[in-house]
């Protein structure tokens, strides 16, 4: 259950960040080196936060075999 919640939160967070970046119109500047570098760092940070969100929400439960 916590795993599914974690995935939902990740999807919402990623969607929100993606929409924010879309509103900033970063897609129109992707071939400009500095814009591209800044955008890439933003994507990388989003990935790190996504992975951390999974750890924080899913916790230990996801890995227990309960045997």
């Amino acid at each position: 259950m916590k795993t599914k919640l974690a995935l939902l939160v990740i999807a919402l967070f990623t969607g929100a960040v993606g929409y924010g970046l879309y509103l900033l119109d970063i897609g129109s500047h992707h071939q400009e080196i500095l814009w591209a570098l800044g955008s890439s760092v933003a994507f990388l940070i989003t990935l790190l936060v996504d992975v951390w969100l999974f750890f924080a929400i899913a916790g230990e439960e996801a890995y227990q075999w309960n045997a």
């Binding site: 071939q31 955008s39 890439s40 990935l47 992975v51 999974f54 750890f55 996801a62 075999w65 045997a67």
Partner: protein, 394 residues
């Protein structure tokens, strides 16, 4: 001659990777090369596995006790894979650029080699899958190098970072190799879990291991978690060049292609973890033994193509041993290769029907008393009530 042939067999996958790369560079319908080779590999592996009794002997040693493997050649073969993978990803990025910018269709000829410029949407999809498949298969070289120390370990991290999974190198050596066969190892799949669920949990689980390891280590050193010395953060940062070039080449489309490529490559890594230990059980605190790994010694295509990674039992016994020095062990073996089993696990009911008799045999003939008790509960939990050992957990 024998020595040369023994070494040449490990060039099977590098050759396939190179052909997949050439296919993407050549363009047009050649971009399907990687997918075609992969399907052919599944068929060949299934066919050679089905011909029972073809035992794949380890490289072996000469009369003086020296290994037939040529260390310099085989190490160089693994190191060279990194620039090849960079070229493979670079070729895909180039095709993304062509598609995103509507580069017109034309042909250039360089001697006998013809390059078709411009790419259709379908061809871009094929190029993405082809590149991802072979970047994913390349993980076996990253795995081998992850068991070394110094610059070659760092090289393994860079190899994995091309698919966003640099955390694997630490998690594999310091978690999987120490905790295999129980819930402390996210890379071991319990009975009844599908590859799709395992992909998710094992991927996040291994990353979580390094996250927690670094949290503890940096705390002891009095260094903040968000720091350049954090190897969890650094591992993801190693993927920044890939993110940057995909984005630069194709914007949102490029990012999407990269995500698809990462998902396929990381999925292949988890397929290997899944197949190597699926359903096998070890009591916590008990030593790791040969019977905690599945070997694939009866499949030459897998042993050659996967640089003897199928000698899992010996690999877990002697993790620092080079692949060309691994030996046959008395380990459980399904008698099918990784390519053939890959096709089975994609359809979980087919996989369960295949693996349950092997696990029933393991429960009866190889498991310790303590492992049998756990197996009985795991069988119940998996819904396998037809297994000889089956007991409701307390």
């Amino acid at each position: 001659m024998h020595k040369l042939l023994v070494n040449l067999r490990y060039f099977l996958t590098p050759a396939l990777i190179f052909l997949a790369l050439l296919g993407i560079v050549a363009g047009g319908n050649w971009v399907w090369t990687g997918i075609g080779l992969f399907i052919a590999s599944i068929i060949l592996d299934a066919a050679s596995s089905a011909m029972k009794g073809i035992h794949c002997a380890p490289p072996g040693r000469d009369d003086d006790g020296e290994t037939y493997g040529i260390p310099g050649l085989l190490k160089a073969m693994m190191w060279v894979q990194y620039p090849v993978f960079v070229c493979l990803q670079g070729a895909l990025i180039w095709r993304v650029y062509e598609y995103a910018n509507g580069v017109p269709f034309s042909v250039s000829t360089y001697g006998w080699f013809e390059i078709q410029h411009g790419v259709t949407g379908l061809q871009l999809c094929a190029a993405t899958v082809s590149a991802a498949i072979y970047l994913g298969l390349g993980i076996m070289f990253g795995h081998e190098l992850a068991h070394t120390k110094g610059p070659t370990f760092v090289l393994a991290r860079w190899m994995m970072a091309l698919s966003g999974i640099a955390h694997f190198c630490y998690a594999h050596v310091y978690n999987h190799h120490l905790e295999l066969g129980c819930e402390d190892d996210p890379a071991t799949s319990p009975r009844g879990r599908s590859i799709y669920k395992h992909y998710l949990l094992s991927h996040f689980g291994q990353s979580r291991f390094l996250f927690l390891m670094e949290k503890q280590r940096l705390q002891k050193l009095g260094i903040p978690f968000i720091s350049w010395q954090n190897r969890w953060i650094r591992g993801y940062a190693m993927s920044l060049p890939s993110i940057f070039f995909f984005w630069l080449a194709g914007g949102w489309l490029g990012l999407g292609v990269m995500v698809v490529s990462w998902v396929i490559s990381a999925f292949e890594l988890e397929v290997l973890n899944y197949l190597e230990h699926y359903g096998l059980i070890r009591e916590k605190g008990q030593p790791i033994d040969y019977h905690h790994s599945w070997d694939v010694a009866e499949s030459p295509f897998t042993q050659w193509g996967f640089i003897e990674i199928g000698r899992q039992a010996d690999h877990h016994d002697r993790g620092e041993t080079h692949f060309w020095e691994l030996e046959d062990c008395d380990a459980p073996d399904t008698h099918y290769g990784y390519y053939a089993m890959f096709a089975m696990i994609l359809v979980p009911p087919v996989w369960e029907a295949f693996i349950k008799p092997h696990l029933a045999d393991w429960d009866e003939n190889r498991a310790s008393e303590g492992e049998q008790k756990i197996a009985a509960k795991m069988n119940y939990k998996a819904g396998w009530h037809d297994m000889a050992l089956c007991q409701k957990p307390d």
